[in-house]
Amino acid sequence: MQYKIRAIFLLMCGLALAAACVYAETRKGNYAPAQLGTLSQPGPAELSPDANFQVSAYPAPAVDLVPGDGLQEVQIYCNTCHTPRYITMQPPLPAASWEAEVNKMTKTLGAPIPEESRQRIILYLQAHYTPETRRP
């Protein structure tokens, strides 16, 4: 019985030793799979010696918004003046702050948003972007 325990124990030791050696070897030169090309090197610009000073288009990547009621209104109306990244960039804001932000856009800055859509936008933002509702 004691020999059996000892044999199993030595076998385990051997396995652990092998694992330790593999571990020691992988520690050096540790490489991990990675995504390439998410940020590519820009090519040279085509320039002509005239008076027009021009740059390429400013990139506007797609924004991930939480699906839900009111998303369509957000995409239509908020997008008029800015991409919805203005929403996802914010920290989680209290429900009252979202209402104030939307009201600033309509009342102070004149965004022509129909009343029903304005309400739906506020409810959407409150449903997904407050400290209680926002998910990572």
């Binding site: 020691a24 021009q54 400013y58 990139p59 003046c81």
Partner: protein, 432 residues
């Protein structure tokens, strides 16, 4: 002989394994290896947003993006464009143009400027309206240069508690450049300001789709004609000896030394003398700060309507530790150099001090070359960590007017004027 009981002790097992693997893995196996667990920063991306607590990072958390004429910068927003400069670009007194932060308010920003057509116009309540081409600005006036910090009013907004809406900048919405151009005063003198005029208004090529007369249509900023800063303003066509990047205001931008960047109109095209106060959104509603010490107040006082506000003006004194940045360990006993920058919108930097005991004892840093009162001033201070552990390094600057950085935070609804003393945690590892 060892009995089974002896074999089963942890220490014995580890020793056996250590010896058996020829010492290669011994030390690693015995000591739980934190370096193995703490992967290099590049392997794990930062979170996509912060809050409701303060942003714990030096920079904002956006991904890198490549924009025209720029190295990859940190994205806040893409339309209109807002980009933050990563921390390591502040190792030098002058911020490279291609790394200089970007902040626009309205989506209609130029992709092209035709210099055949473009003119800088001096108009409004002047004796003689004038228009200058870029060659006229470059040749008819003696060029004047000034090193000046351009800092966004909302720089560091993500550190306020409670958090406030707006661009969630870390500390990288700032930069220093050598600006060269025409003194604004010379242009105003040539046009002749009519008596009774009150303000000078600045308008660039930035426009938005909003209704005419509202802030969503045009970005306008004004300064009082009696403000002495007008004598220091430049219409700059060179930035660090190069043309301005389009995103930083090609072909010319206004330079208002010591003032927050909201007044530094990009793609400046109209300079307008006003005989009535400018009451447009960007003056009357936005970019206002409480008329209190440090522009600080509380959400309760705001709600109670107790707070008077004034247009934002000069930026307060600040300083930063740039390196080390806390991303790597320092071996105990190693004498390393702490490096950073300091600046103030009120006067030149008089001293920078560092502390490694949470502000109980302060050591003076050595200041770098003086490029003028409104420039970044580099500083350095040697530092040796006596023993392994976590150190909180603090840095504070004092300007020549005696303004210094307090340890108290700032709060106002716009998220402006943050200048609390900075701290950086540094991990010192056992060197033997």
């Amino acid at each position: 002989m060892h009995g089974p009981k002896r074999y089963l002790t942890r220490r014995g097992l580890l020793r056996t394994l250590g010896m058996a693997s020829g010492g290669i893995a011994a030390g690693r196996w015995l000591v739980p290896d934190l370096a193995w667990a703490q992967r290099s920063p590049s392997e794990k991306a930062v979170e996509t947003f912060t809050g409701p607590r303060a942003n714990p990072h030096w920079n904002s958390v956006g991904p890198y993006i490549s924009e025209p004429q720029k190295v990859p910068l940190l994205l806040l927003t893409d339309r209109p464009v807002q980009l933050e400069t990563p921390r390591h670009y502040f190792r030098t007194a002058f911020t490279p143009n291609e790394a200089f932060y970007v902040r626009w308010h309205l989506e209609g920003i130029p992709n092209a400027v035709d210099l055949k057509e473009w003119r800088l116009r001096i108009e409004g309540d002047v004796d003689k309206p004038l228009a200058f081409s870029l060659p006229e600005l470059m040749q008819k006036f003696k060029p004047v240069a000034i090193a000046a910090v351009n800092q966004c009013s909302g720089n560091s907004r993500s550190y306020l508690q409670p958090r406030v809406p707006g661009g969630q900048w870390g500390n990288g919405a700032m930069g220093n450049a050598l600006w060269t151009g025409v003194p604004l005063r010379e242009l105003l003198d040539r046009a002749g300001i009519k008596s009774g005029s009150l303000q000078v208004q600045f308008q660039g090529l930035e426009t938005g789709p909003g209704p005419e007369g509202l802030g969503s249509n045009v970005f306008l900023k004004s300064l009082d004609l009696k403000n002495p800063v007008l004598d220091q303003c430049l219409v700059a066509y060179l930035m660090n000896g190069e043309p301005l990047p389009m995103l930083n205001g090609f072909p010319v931008r206004l330079v208002v030394p010591g003032y927050f960047a909201t007044y530094w109109t990009k793609c400046l095209t109209w300079v307008r003398i006003l005989s009535a106060p400018d009451e447009n959104f960007w003056m009357k509603t936005a970019y206002r700060v409480p008329d209190t010490p440090r522009g600080s107040t509380t959400p309760d006082d705001m709600k109670a309507g107790k707070v008077q506000t004034i247009p934002i003006g000069r930026f307060p004194v600040r300083s930063f530790l740039i390196s080390p940045d806390g991303s790597s360990k320092i071996p105990a006993g190693m004498n390393v150099m702490l490096r950073g920058i300091a600046f103030s919108g009120f006067a030149g930097i008089q001293r920078v001090e560092v502390s490694d005991d949470n502000g109980k004892n302060w050591t003076a840093a050595t200041l770098g070359e003086n490029h003028g009162a409104y420039s970044f001033r580099t500083w350095e201070a040697p530092w040796t960590a006596r023993s392994p552990g976590r150190y909180s390094l603090a840095v504070r600057a004092t300007d020549e007017k005696g303004n210094t950085q307090p340890d108290e935070p700032v709060w106002n609804p716009g998220g402006y004027l943050w200048n609390r003393m900075e701290r950086q945690e540094i991990v010192v590892g056992n060197a033997s």
